[in-house]
Symmetry: D4
Subunit: 199 residues, 8 copies
């Protein structure tokens, strides 16, 4: 998102995402009926700034290389320094326990992939039981489906954003960012329900 569409520093968003962005203070310029643009830097930094102030902790420089499992339940992540990974060193990881793990790694769906590869014969709540794979771009379908497919796909493991469409086997979203934000909101609500005993 940092570069906007093709490095032009602007993001395009649809009407549905307007309330969410206005709530956190990102300024929108209407371009044509139902679409807005926002400054890419303002959007990313304001989102992250408000997220941290709202109570989230973002661990920079750290990557997840595996998940913790226990009795058919994903229950945490195996963490290592990103720099160690880039440098190609072999250093023992540490772990973090988590009631809910969200894969929001986009096209690459890295967490779901490592989970599936290492825990056969686990089955996901997708049409095939495995990873459907992202289809080519059909923006209207993609925007709608990314929210629809945002869900818990294995006990303790959720997907959101492009990782949701790619896991389900749905169409790729276009260069419009609203669906991604709405997917993020939906997964937050699902987790909130779970943690408060409703989901």
């Amino acid at each position: 998102m940092w570069g906007g569409g093709m490095m032009f520093n602007e993001l395009v968003l649809q009407e549905e995402a307007r309330p969410l962005l206005e709530e956190i203070g990102v300024r929108l310029q209407p371009i044509y009926e139902g679409y807005y643009t926002a400054d890419a830097i303002e959007t990313v930094t304001t989102l992250a700034s408000q997220t941290v102030k709202a109570g989230a902790t973002i661990f920079n420089c750290i990557s997840a290389e595996d998940v913790l499992v226990r009795e058919n339940q994903v229950c945490g992540l195996v963490l290592s320094w990103t720099a160690v990974e880039i440098a190609g060193l072999h250093v023992d990881p540490l772990t973090i326990r988590a009631k809910c793990v969200v894969d929001a790694t986009g096209h690459d769906i890295e967490v779901v992939k490592v989970f599936l590869r290492k825990n056969q014969p686990a089955t996901l709540t997708t049409p095939t039981g495995g990873i459907g794979g992202e289809r080519s771009m059909w923006a209207e379908m993609g925007e709608r489906d990314t929210v629809a497919h945002t869900k818990e796909i294995y006990p303790g493991l959720f997907v959101s954003g492009m990782a949701a469409t790619a896991t389900h086997g749905a169409f790729r979203m276009g260069p419009i960012f609203g669906g991604m934000f709405l997917s993020g909101k939906k997964v937050a609500e699902l987790i909130h329900q779970r943690l408060s005993g409703e989901g």
Copy 2:
């Protein structure tokens, strides 16, 4: 083509391609019965120069990383900067709509491959319904087949040149460039018919 055969800056062409090259002003030297050589630089630059003057727009520095689809129809391309790809950065792409998309990426048939990989169970109009794969070199067969297999292989998606033989599963062309030019001419005619409502 820039380097000619093995960097010797000369291209070999057969009689069939002579009219096409003479029409755009590339000078040919006969070498033996039915074959000509042309300067590699003159051929490439004159072709591109005349193509642009004829009305084509060539977008330099831009790569196609995916296609747009809609109801079993290829209807455009997902574009990004080539430099972004080489640099390994993650920047959001933009898109372009197109009535006809041609894969002329040679051996690699990059557009057809990304389309097939991401849109199973799509079927191409090839013997296997998928990519046949380029066979080893049999120059006479390759020259003939590259024109024969230049066609629309999926609604909205055409192949030409080496991408046509590689998609069909035909023999590789030899170091002679005529078939490739004639394939390019054929795909242009097919698209012209389509856009004018004939094809």
Copy 3:
């Protein structure tokens, strides 16, 4: 700054910088007399978010490779895509005019270096007339000097932060971030005076 000190995601700040950070909404935790810590992600994103909202435009994915000059005056920058630079391509740059150019590139003082290398015998307002070079770390001296040496070092060209100490030949700052913020504030005030006709 993203990683905090040694990737621990926390920044240390001194009392002098507290008002500035509180003004833009970064939360501080006192650690001992006169020192505070702040979350690295919250600090960076809140600073950038507020900067953009205050009217600045940040061009992401773009690098400055040279300056514009005119009659012993720096009057703009030569810009290219960062991705082009990383990819090692040769693409013609574009330019932007500016009444004030600030080098805030840290240790590397990239803008001052390219200016000096290409415009001999230009003289800076430093003790040697050239680049003094950053000395080893002496945190107390560095914090104080980075503000003192934040200034216009050639008509139209300012330095701030670590670029200020490195240009002047002063001691390196320690792993405390207050001086850097105060230097940024000072250079903003100097430019404001200049543009409003006072400096």
Copy 4:
């Protein structure tokens, strides 16, 4: 030039270069008083196409790694395959004799640099007798000076385009391409005079 200014596929040219481009058939669109734009691909390919048709031979895939000298005269080039250089192999070069050698390698002035480095104490016809080095960008001065400094700088060795300003120590040209074309025309005329016994 292939990418136009910052990969936007368009070149800007001034009035002075219009006759030259119209003569070879490049189409220009006026943008404002005295300035035109041209398609980058059309300009490069038409120039090269017409250059070859006019009798020049362009050796693709070949690099010059040194010059031939004889009694204080540059009299040819030492050639190797570009691919060999990129691959880092050690292969013996071949040579080509030339009455006039032109360094048109731009900022890098590669031919002049290798000549100077290896033939001390040779002296060029520049203000310092050596390489002045390109100064920062001052478009108006650069456009004018690139033509003025296009000349023979050592018996048998000419400079043109950005190599001319960089060798002389003049200001860098802006993102406007006319001066470069006029410099190319001037060096061609100088060599024509020399070969016909006038220069």
Copy 5:
């Protein structure tokens, strides 16, 4: 192990491994009921130092690239210089005969993999007859299973440590090192029995 958990230079060990480490002289600090920490450097160097003094020969700078086989029996290793491998050179290897070969290469189980890939249809004494693959992390199970699965999996070929769990298809161990040491002790005992005619 050199870096401890995530480069913090400390290892965590459980009660079961205490006698083994105390026997060779590694100092342990209790942290909480049943767990100890040890200095990473002290642990690695003391282990290696005592191992060599006890009679083992460690060949540094040498890698195994294949195994020797004879009548369904692994009977040695094909060795080459590690530097040759890193440098990508082609140099002929030498060989070493061995009554017992242990794969203790961790996650990568390099020896078992090369053996299986090259000697189909060999069958291992694992549930699937092939490599089960390491599952995600479940520390309690992993610690227990790494000892249980330490054994001879093909005549002449043993596995220990993470290679044992990865070959069997068991859960990954957590950032606790005791199981690994106990697995090493078990494989040593198995080999001792074999060589003394008991196993």
Copy 6:
């Protein structure tokens, strides 16, 4: 072979290869019953020197990237510069016709692999009809089998040396070079018979 066993500059050879090496003038030192050592440099250079003098032409700096086929017959090679391949450039290849093509590329069996990958459903004269794959090292078997499996595996395509064992699915040879030389001699005799109408 240049480095001898593990860079020690010595080759080990068995009695069977002695006559062949003595015939071309390589000096052998007996080490123990039935085995000799030879200087690696002397062996390689004398072999190549005598091969060229005997009438062979070795094209240095050239790689084969594909084969020519015609009616179920391999009938030549597609050639390109090795430097072009290393440099990652795209340059059109040239071709060479051949009555017999020998794959002597060792473990990698590059020619057979490219032939099989591109010409399905071609069948080789091996137990599986495809590539068996090199097994682990069993020196005695490998030495014997490399000669036995040296043959024509498809009309026009021969294998020798390690490529013969790897194609057939036989055991890897040990660090002894005699079998390889005898395999080379056998393939030369097979081709000689073929070309003289006997094979």
Copy 7:
């Protein structure tokens, strides 16, 4: 030292170093009058193991990128993760205070170099006041001089081992390791005197 001389896993040591190695338990084999060999792995690991047990703390995975200074005194180090350096990331360092800093980085004398480069016009207690540079190898002289030149070369900054000869401008040591160990012992004694108020 890990690889021994040229990867042969053996170290050669002279009589003078015997007591030191025997004291910490490294086994020596006499080879000829006054010289011994030791296993490389045993020597390195036993040295490190005993060093840690004697009270030293070795921080693995951490590099020194600069020194702390204060009034013409080196008083600590600027530290960063080695992985960050290898990965080419920009992360803020932390610092450690030290009464004595020893440069034992061998040929590269990294600490002394960064100190001198950044703190001109500092003067070392060497013949030139700067870095003399290692001379070619003269083993007898090198062994003797490495101990002689082990000393404090600037207040708070010591050199030992090859860094001592390289800083002073002395001859390189041969492939014998005794002088290096004796130099290490000497620098330890110098620091002990300093810390106990004698040096």
Copy 8:
């Protein structure tokens, strides 16, 4: 030399070198008055083969990284594995004593450079006392001078071939190989005289 001129596998030689090549059995084809061509592979392999048979030992896979000195005399080389150098590992070298060391490393004159850089203020028997540096190509002068400048340039250190012209500051040789062979012969004679007490 392996690739011949520009990878064409042929070498050009002048009359003066004919006797030397005929003596060792390299076949020459006259091309025009006083010049011959030879097959590149035949020339290199026959030279090396005959050199080894004549008594020389060539150590493959080994590089010289420094020289041994003693009282203003070069008396040997510091050796390491080439693979270790390419792999960037740190492994202790070994040494070899030599009465005469020849730098025949071509343009790079690696041995002379490392000697000069590390042993200031040593003086060579060249016009400047240091390295003159190779001048641009003047084939006639270069062929003649390479033999003239083949000599002992420091006690125990000789130069031959391109290293001789580059050290002296003479013109570069053209793509003709005779001078290089004659230089090699001359340095062999100089060393023979020295070792037999005449030089």
